[in-house]
């Protein structure tokens, strides 16, 4: 009997040790293979693709949508959706621009980020406490925040003349574009939060089965609110990269980006029904979409055909992933 107990215990320990990383990798292997394959094809099609400047270029290009998609992943993991991220980006962009004019970086950056976070908070309160469906709440916010951006600027773009700020969007640190670094930092922080904090764990639980999570004592409403706060913050962060990269606070910034961000999340393997997915997947999804756009540009494919290719990629990727998940 004791012998049996020990053998079972070692078997159990083995089970626990072996599983974690491996099964996580297995979930994401599909999307990673797709990325590697895309890189392979891209480097065959264009000899310009696999060059350091171009790869850094891609990282900088995808940073804005990528950062948006990080926050969007939190929301989608709870089976919600945030349609207002593009508009929050637009609002924060004009706020950064106008705040920079009078106050400088030290004031503009925190206040701009705070503004986006507050908009996210309003979304969160609406969804979690007033129980407005996320689709409706954020659709309304999309229009509302965009309207604020237009009112704030009177419709005219605000030029940004601050050279330090320009450096945030266009400079390099250790040879890597700063927007790419911000993107990767967002990824790492998001991954840690989702993987290692009670909040992150509960995000998955809520998305998997909200009723079960509530019955397990998860503060469902608070966390459902919080994912929108996170999403608002990342939208503002993306707005910071946008405005510094382009040196302008334009109220139309980020129009339609919500869909790009959702596409990146979905291509990255996160389920729109919640509870399944990861920010790493979203990172890879962002890269896949970005690399596809880059290689189509490099090979000079008709721009109209490019849109077609992007649409096909999204649908095909999600179809294949849903198939492989079932089997």
């Amino acid at each position: 009997m004791p012998a049996e107990d020990t053998s079972r215990a070692t078997k159990l320990a083995g089970l626990l040790r072996s599983g974690g990383l491996q099964s996580r990798l297995r979930q994401q292997i599909g999307v990673v293979i797709a990325l590697l394959l895309l890189i392979l094809v891209a480097s065959l099609v264009s000899d310009r693709f696999l060059t350091v400047p171009n790869l850094l270029n891609i990282l900088r290009q995808v940073a804005i949508v990528g950062i948006l998609a990080m926050g969007q992943t939190f929301v989608i993991l709870t089976a919600g959706i945030d349609l207002s991220v593009g508009a929050i980006l637009g609002l924060s962009v004009v706020l950064f621009a106008s705040l920079l004019e009078g106050h400088g970086l030290a004031v503009a950056i925190p206040l701009g980020l705070l503004a986006g976070t507050l908009v996210g908070l309003v979304n969160g309160i609406g969804v979690a406490y007033a129980r407005i469906p996320a689709f409706i709440m954020t659709l309304g916010m999309l229009s509302f925040a965009r309207g604020l951006a237009f009112i704030h600027t009177g419709g005219t773009p605000i030029p940004i003349l601050n050279e330090n700020y320009y450096y945030v969007g266009n400079g390099y640190l250790l040879g890597i574009p700063i927007p790419a670094l911000i993107f990767i930092a967002t990824l790492i922080v998001s991954a840690i939060v989702l993987r290692l904090t009670p909040f992150g764990r509960c995000v998955y639980a809520i998305g998997s089965n909200e009723d079960a999570a509530r019955l397990s004592g998860v503060p469902v409403r608070r966390y459902k609110m919080l994912v929108f706060v996170v999403c608002g913050f990342t939208a503002a962060l993306a707005g910071m990269v946008f405005s510094s990269q382009l040196s302008v606070g334009t109220p139309i910034a980020g129009q339609g980006y919500e869909l790009d961000a959702i596409a990146a999340v979905v291509v990255g393997g996160t389920s729109l029904f919640g509870g399944k997915g990861s920010v790493f997947g979203t990172f890879v999804g962002t890269l896949i979409i970005g690399i596809l756009a880059n290689i189509l540009n490099l090979t000079g494919v008709d721009p109209f055909v490019q849109q077609l290719a992007k649409g096909a990629l999204i649908v095909v990727a999600v179809y294949v992933m849903s198939r492989s998940n079932r089997s």
Binding site: S23, P198, A205, N209, R214, G217, P219
Partner: protein, 500 residues
């Protein structure tokens, strides 16, 4: 209708068998329905009544046996086939479209058209009125179904059935949604349908109703027919004994030594669900909550967990009156609940087993700023061992586990809060025999460690085997409280099913 025809059953089932995943739920069941007859079907929860109804309604296909309708063998591959054959089921939950008028509901799917191919409103209204006249009920066919009372909606459903030329009408627990005085109206309508030669299958928990309305009664137990008699020839004793069928050996008297009162509920009331429910449970004691489906047992548990707000009454935990705001607060008081509805309220279906185990008390595995994977792992390992959960890896998504192992994980989850009071709601529903015994043994072990347990179960055997005391609920009220010695399957059935 001539006498010769009246001799032939409208519907005849012979030797029906059906099983799910190896569990036989119906075997060798016969049933016949004569014109103008009300044929009652009774049986405990899980006796196979609903499976039988679903076969008759074309939802399930039997593995063996045959169905004869109007004397000819028919295969019902879908509810549509059943409709075409004149067999209509009216379910417990009414299924009218609330935003359509009564007449549109009646003719949904087969509306009369005029020569232009457009719905002929006046014809539809005329025919609806005719159907209501046949039932002698007063309903305006143009009123929206959503504006009608439940009783009226039921009449619309019956009229809808008649519009399909129903020969056999199957009523599944028709009185469960009705007030007492509406029941009389329903019975009048049934009498009228009988007079029109329609055969009625009447499924009910309420034995007293059977004696009022039925001509014959079929009793099911564990998927078999254990009795068929003319109602006039039998009494309630006979029915109850057919339903229970076996005599349980009196359980060995427990030598449990219960401690101080853990949870006391006094005159707890949630309007529309239950009223003035009082009971208490001590440390190291199991109190069974018995009763029929819909008697309010789970609702009481949800009120204790703070999921619904009682308007009246008091909950006392270890001598201190408390207001419980939700599962989180309950957990802090040491109360845990294992849901009856595993799929909808229990499983984080697409998350790994280990996350399912620890989600109820992440605080325990947390030290700022991160969760402690090692602590989680130790707990998970401990639970897998203690509950003997069988799996290939704790990283498996819980939906891939068998029902029994899923249930063990949910019990393990409730233990993460180290409960002093544990509410188990149908802890062995959909669980195979082996796992059932293991769960029983585990529950008994918990009790012996001093946990107070409230056991909600529709399985008599389970309640009788485990409980120290049994509270029987009926229609949202405590019908009876009995000690282990007083309780028997028969006494519980009486209290739960018979009119007081």
């Amino acid at each position: 209708m001539n006498d010769g025809l009246a001799m032939h059953p409208l519907l005849e089932a012979k030797g029906l068998r059906k099983s799910f995943e190896g569990n036989t739920v119906l075997s060798d069941v016969d049933l016949s329905v004569l014109p103008g007859e009300v044929h009652a079907i009774v049986g405990e929860n899980g006796a196979g009544k609903s499976t039988l109804i679903k076969i008759l309604g074309g939802v399930y296909q039997p593995e063996a046996g045959q169905l004869l309708i109007g004397g000819a063998e028919r295969r019902l591959r879908s509810p549509r086939d059943a409709l075409a054959a004149g067999v209509v089921v009216i379910h417990q939950e009414l299924s009218l479209a609330p935003d359509l008028s009564s007449q549109e509901n009646i003719f949904l799917g087969h509306m009369p058209l005029n020569s232009l191919g457009v719905v002929d409103q006046s014809e539809m209204r005329r025919q609806s009125q005719q159907l209501f006249d046949r039932l002698s009920v007063q309903i305006d066919p143009s009123r929206l179904a959503g504006e009608l009372s439940v009783a009226q909606q039921q009449m619309v459903e019956i009229a809808k059935a008649l519009s399909f030329d129903a020969r056999v009408l199957i009523l599944d627990e028709p009185t469960s949604v009705l007030d007492r005085d509406r029941v009389a109206t329903l019975f009048q309508v049934i009498e009228r349908l009988k007079a029109q030669g329609i055969g009625i299958v009447y499924v009910s928990h309420h034995l007293d109703e059977i004696f009022t309305i039925a001509d014959r009664v079929t009793v099911l137990r564990d998927g078999r027919r254990t009795g068929l008699e003319r109602v006039q020839a039998v009494d309630q004793e006979w029915m109850v004994s057919c339903m229970i069928g076996r005599d349980f050996p009196p359980h060995a008297a427990h030598t449990r030594s219960s401690g101080q009162p853990a949870l006391e509920v006094k005159r707890l009331t949630v309007p529309g669900e239950f009223e003035d429910v009082s009971f208490s449970v001590r440390e190291g004691e199991i109190v069974g909550l018995a009763g029929l489906v819909g008697a309010g047992r789970s609702e009481v548990a949800q009120a204790i967990m703070g999921l619904t707000r009682p308007v009246r009454g008091e909950i006392t935990v270890f001598g201190r009156p408390t207001r419980i705001s939700g599962p989180d607060a309950a957990a802090r008081l040491g109360i845990a609940y294992v849901t009856e509805d595993r799929k909808a309220q229990g499983l984080l279906a697409n998350r790994p087993v280990w996350e399912n185990l620890t989600i109820s008390n992440l605080r325990r595995f947390y030290s700022f700023p991160f969760l402690r994977p090692r602590a989680e792992r130790d707990f998970v390992q401990d639970m897998v061992k203690r509950l003997d959960i069988r799996l290939s890896s704790v990283n498996t998504e819980i939906r891939n586990l068998s029902g029994g192992n899923q249930q063990k994980v949910l019990i393990g989850r409730s233990l993460a809060v180290e409960p002093k009071i544990l509410i188990l709601d149908e802890p062995t529903r959909g669980v195979d025999i082996g796992a059932k015994q293991e769960i029983y043994a585990f529950v008994e072990k918990l009790v012996s460690q001093g946990v107070a347990i409230i056991l909600i179960s529709s399985e008599m055997e389970e309640v009788l085997r485990l409980s120290d005391r049994i509270v029987v609920l009926k229609g949202g009220q405590v019908a009876s409280t009995m000690s282990r010695g007083e309780a028997s399957e028969e006494s519980i059935m009486r209290a739960a099913a018979l009119a007081s």
